[in-house]
């Protein structure tokens, strides 16, 4: 087994005057769940398309599953594009078989695999229905199936949770984790940092076509070198602003995110709260959220999703 499922070196791509990706290095270890983060328009989709050889980079080297992208590699990759799409007039089972054969499967193999997955996701009765007669949620499920039906070694998911109902989000996460347990590598992009934080071993953040952060999630958080206190209060919280050990305070009303000054003891906050006449409902020592780190690194402007973004 190769230890790097994906290896990009010095990738650059522009469309006309617009730079989509600039000098990007990316190493995705085999067996990891890797999140590609960044605001809309940061170059995530372009990067994924370069990995899949759907578009060629202007510069740089692309290596996927140990070699340049060719038919053999393509057959071992499953791809869920951000813009979902199936042939509306095909029958569900035929469609899965068709996409399976395009991944080099034999028809019989593809049929068996498609049956298995349809059964598992409760779509067996709809297998002879046309795709356009399915509800949107079912079409989404069929689309996931098409990315795993050929048992790929590498899953590439572009904004997989966008526009999904919660049931399908859970289902997709379940499949992703299951693939990882079976040894597959998963690379997915999202502009919703919370999704990545819950699911990924490693993340790479890009903003404005450049990489701003890359590495294992734990290391990134540790290297941020600070801790946060999440504090829930009832009563007058103005005393928090007076404390010398508070370096930054995010005020959410009854709920506060507090970053301590270097070397300060979190206990000081609790003691101060107890000596004031307020009720402490919640006190938690937390690592900084990925969002906080990202905001710090990329700058607030780039990190906030645009108007069309959001869950």
């Amino acid at each position: 087994m190769i230890d790097r499922a994906i290896h990009l070196q010095g990738i650059a791509k522009s469309f006309g005057a617009q730079t989509a990706v600039e000098d990007l290095d990316l190493r995705v270890p085999s067996g990891s769940i890797y999140g590609l983060l960044g605001p809309n328009g940061a170059g995530k989709t372009t990067t994924l398309r370069i990995v899949l050889d759907i578009i060629g980079p202007d510069r740089g080297r692309v290596e996927v599953l140990g070699s340049q992208v060719d038919d053999a590699v393509r057959s071992r990759v499953g791809y869920l594009p951000e813009e979902r799409g199936l042939y509306p007039r095909m029958r569900v089972l035929d469609h899965l078989i068709f996409l399976g054969t395009l991944k080099g499967m034999h028809r019989g193999e593809a049929r068996a695999a498609a049956h298995h997955w349809l059964e598992r996701l409760g779509l067996a009765e709809r297998s002879t229905d046309r795709v356009d007669t399915l509800s949107k949620g079912m079409q989404q499920k069929v689309q996931f199936l098409s990315t795993v039906v050929h048992d790929p070694d590498l899953l590439i998911l572009d904004e997989p949770f966008g526009g999904l109902d919660p049931l399908n989000v859970d289902l997709l996460k379940e499949i992703v984790l299951e693939r990882q347990r079976q040894g597959s590598t998963v690379l997915f992009s999202t502009h919703r940092i919370e999704d990545a934080e819950r699911l990924c071993d490693r993340v790479c953040m890009i903003a404005g076509a450049r990489k701003v952060l890359d590495g294992p999630l734990g290391e990134i958080k540790a290297s941020a070198g600070r801790r946060e206190i999440l504090l829930g209060l009832e009563g007058d919280a103005s005393f928090l602003r007076e404390l010398s050990c508070v370096r930054r305070l995010s005020d959410h009303g009854n709920y506060f995110e507090i970053r301590l000054a270097d070397g300060a003891n979190p206990q000081e906050i609790l003691e101060a709260a107890l000596s004031e006449n307020v009720r402490v409902r919640h006190f938690e020592l937390a690592e900084p959220s990925l969002r906080e780190i990202f905001l710090e690194r990329a700058g607030a402007r780039a990190a906030e999703p645009g108007p069309e973004a959001g869950p």
Partner: protein, 418 residues
Amino acid sequence: MSRKAWAITKREYLERVRARWFLVATFGLPVVLVGLIFLPELIVFRGAAGEEGLNLGVLDYSGRVAGDLGAALGDEWAVQPVHEEHERSEGELREAFRATSLDGLLIVGADPDEEGSVRLLARRVISGRQGRELRGGIRDALVAARLREHGIEEIDTRRLFRGADLRIIQVTPEGERSREAFQIVAMLFAVVTYMMFLIYGQLIVRAVLEEKSSNVVEVMMSSVRPWEMMLGKMFGVGAVGLTQIAIWAAIGGLLSLYGLPGLSSVLAAEGVDLSQLRLPIGLLAWALLYFILGYLLYAGLFLAAGASLGNEQDAQQVVTPLVVIIVVGFILVIGIIESPNSSWAVVGSLVPLFSPMIVPARLAISHVPAMELAGSVSLLVLGMLGSAWLAGRIYRVAILMSGKRANLAEVVRWIRHG
């Protein structure tokens, strides 16, 4: 061809053949076409069946027409001479005609050779055929009268004017063929090719647009190469066209074996005897070859046009020039069928955009020299490869663009740099 391109071909083919559209087009189109060609003639024939000769009064001041007119017109007409002592005014004649039960009153002036001296007052509209028959009858009566003046009596004027039934049989190295029958074959080749290029070209444009708008293209691109998608689409859609032609050929074959009542009599009236029509296999093979090469040429162009478009509205603008080219080709063919040896025919046979329509028609009605044929096929193959290359360059870039239509400068850049 790779296995993947083959899988795509099969998908494109099955999706279309299974669609209701296919049945409607395959069986509806010949009906419409036959209707358009033969309807006018069928209407005349049907009308003629219920249409009798007129009950005609003849007021003959010259005394040269009335006597022979009855015999010249035949039994369907009832001709009765009307006698008037004095020449009446036009107004009085009309008044008198209204009072009778006659269908028409033919008035022949004292000198029938004088312009406007022979007039027909008619109660109803006279059909074209009745007018022709009456004109012929008057002519025959006048000829008989003139011959009598020269002392020739007792002559069958109908026989006097009868020509010969000329049949043109072309003796070619492959055998004999009747000009009239093969003119119909040439026309059929031209019409089918013309229609198929137009219909299937638009079908390809729609297929590409649908693929873009349903976003399925990106899933496809993660599994196959653009050229595989392109070939699969071109071959799949083309196979649907060939299936359609095969069905039509089978229907045509059955009809020529068992005959279609009415049709053969209509054709016979045009001097075409279907029983004489034996299509040489060589001719069919050439027609098929030209159809396939021509289809691939146009499919590439339509595909490139479709790929560089954003939506259905834009499609019309870019597709229109291609449609115009095909229509021009068809107009050329019609002229060339009339004069198959013109220099237009020779030049047109060498232009890849036109030769798929022109050459099969020419082969049907005349002999095309081997050198010309070789040049024509080679240029068509080159044109087809060029179109495929061009389409490939445009397709692989344009297929991922969504939303706006590419401008010409962009398309040129894709072609040059890929």
